[in-house]
Symmetry: C2
Subunit: 385 residues, 2 copies
């Protein structure tokens, strides 16, 4: 393991040499550093220097208005001449609040979530809250560990896109007194705040689109049904197909282990080997769709001519793929903003009734879907390997 992480071509691992001896002292071995820097400045030293009491310094920090301007100035000067840095731990211990919010997400490498995070962070930063990012990679175990850790850290609130469809762990958080808002997941039935998009509707849009294009055998590449989004998207697909059943349309589901590119690629074998080979696939999210596209390319199946593909999320890269991917657009940034605002309401104890904010999904048609039978004049394709 230690070996194979260097397979990409490690060139050199050389000790750092200093040009100037003067600099050497500053960056000697860390042990030395540590001891030299150990003595951090406390509020007490600031107080001494400024000739005031502890309480006054604290007031300058937290209630500037109650201290006389001249005193305040003196304290502020002392603060930066001592390079005082407030100790959050002590602050938190006494004050009870951490001004930290956590976001526990399924996969931080998924552009869908990074966009949400951007929105949430924007809101939180304005209120001087810090956002802690946690990626569960869809593992209930990891999620549990994060929750535990976040409780220990006494975060003021948590935004969570839960791994399991039963909200046991999220509800437990609330029971423990931690304000929690669900992300991309409706919380009405659990008495939680949430900001979500109607996934059933979205999946219906996707499936309807394929049906309207004339596809008869439609595949759904779906993630594990512990994840709510997957359940809802299956439901949406089913509803749509049920409605078109008399036209002979059928739906086959292929369930994979996670919503990732790799898993999508792996699903292709199943698709192509199916008894009734589908002519269209809808995927539970864009990453899966990316994988499916890659797999189809490798198998030299032309998209959309031989197989239409539609994704879900409309992440930024969807419009740049080969071919560009039809997808279901979700208002990601807005989702993050809405969730953060809800959470902030709870955290600050504003008069507040739990609410479920819901957004509408939207179909975006691109080159990966096309009416059955319509062919392009030339199917040049850029296949790697």
């Amino acid at each position: 393991m230690t070996n194979d992480r260097f397979r990409m071509g490690l060139r050199a691992e050389a000790p750092v040499h200093q040009a100037e001896p003067a600099e050497r002292s500053r960056s000697s071995a860390s042990g030395a550093d540590r001891s030299s820097a150990k003595r951090r400045v406390t509020i007490r030293e600031v107080a001494n220097l400024a000739q005031v009491s502890l309480g006054t310094v604290s007031n300058v920090l937290n209630n500037p208005s109650v201290v006389a301007p001249t005193t305040r100035k003196r304290v502020l000067d002392a603060i930066d001449s001592t390079r005082f840095v407030r100790n959050t731990a002590a602050h938190q211990l006494r004050a009870g609040k951490s001004r930290t919010i956590a976001a526990v997400l399924l996969d931080i490498a998924n552009p869908f979530f990074t966009e949400i995070v951007r929105g949430a962070e924007h809101v939180l930063r304005e209120q001087d809250y810090v956002l802690m990012l946690c990626s569960t990679d869809e593992s209930a175990n990891r999620e549990q560990r994060y929750f535990r850790m976040l409780e220990e850290h006494r975060v003021d609130g948590i935004l969570v896109c839960p791994v399991d469809s039963d909200l046991e762990s999220a509800v437990a958080l609330v029971a423990h007194g931690i304000p929690t808002v669900l992300l991309d997941r409706d919380g009405s039935s659990f008495g939680l705040c949430s900001a979500a998009v109607d996934d059933i509707r979205g999946a219906e849009l996707a499936a309807n689109h394929l049906v309207e294009l004339g596809h008869q055998v439609i595949a759904l590449v779906n993630g594990p049904s512990t994840i709510r989004q997957c359940i809802d998207r299956r439901e949406g697909a089913r509803r749509s197909v049920r409605r078109a059943r008399r036209r002979g349309v059928s739906l086959q589901e292929f369930v994979v282990g996670a919503l990732t590119i790799d898993q999508g690629e792996r699903a292709v074998a199943g698709l192509l080997g199916a008894e009734r080979r589908p002519s269209a696939v809808m995927c539970a999210n864009d990453l899966l769709a990316f994988g499916v596209l890659r797999g189809l390319a490798a198998a030299e199946v032309a998209v959309p001519e031989e197989m239409a593909v539609v994704g879900y999320d409309d992440v930024v890269f969807a419009s740049m793929l080969s071919p560009t991917l039809s997808s279901i657009r979700q208002p990601k940034y807005e989702l993050g903003v809405a969730a953060a605002e809800l959470l902030l309401e709870e955290v600050t104890g504003a008069p507040h009734e739990h609410r479920a904010i819901r957004f509408e999904p939207e179909l975006v048609v691109r080159a990966s879907t096309r009416p059955v039978g319509e062919h392009t004049p030339c199917n040049e394709r850029h296949v790697e390997l």
Copy 2:
């Protein structure tokens, strides 16, 4: 502002109604919740219940081996019958260590960084450290604010990919006694640990590739030269072109404000309007290249026939674009692993000399580059809008 965030189609914002009155109490307004849950269990209550002293409980938590098995059992039982959750703030205050590491990155939406994070997180989690993620969006201001905040939080160490090429702020961290390791940036000359890839070499590879394909007028779409990576990549490109100057090869640089898709797209106008229109572009990173591709598509310029494009980073989506993007591969995951291991060495105070680990970049040729003059039989292209 409050209005326009709903442009994506907000459907409903309805108060949550409970099915069961029994549940209602649990999820009443947060104010009530708060007060009911306010009294968190402390180590003292555990001690009382288990009939031992504070110190013993603490020992069970931190030094299990010194406490007698039967006592330990009693305490552990008390711990989970009271649902005790350790208070990190108090722990940190007394113990001095936070077991938290921060990563301060240029852009968390860039898959290049998420991959690095994955590597670092893996290492850190194994040692029971928590990773705090901070995205500066290339703003020195934001970076400064993060550093300040992280100091206040007394994080044990910081992984940083700095915004500014002078390492002033990073060096200041070290001076303040916070172990710091540079990411994707060589620290030798500053006496810092680092894990990086040779950017000059990488850019040379990219430029050489274009030169060998026969391009005469080459453009470099580059980010702000406050960022070290941009400086190095320019340098690499220059070296390569200088070597080929007698063959009439020239280089034009187009500097944009940030390493993002949008900025790349915007750069296209400049490229196409240039006095001597380039036949090839190399981009300072893949996101820029993605933008350039999108812009070229919009302008109906064929890639690679009319314009060759090469990116940098080889993020996962590069192989799925339309057309697939030639790029410079960096060992991202390994970078994260190496940086985290270096940092851990410093943090734990292991005997340690500052080192600069360097990896080698690698050229990956795909469909966005092709020898000058070679044409595909058919240039179907999926252009959106």
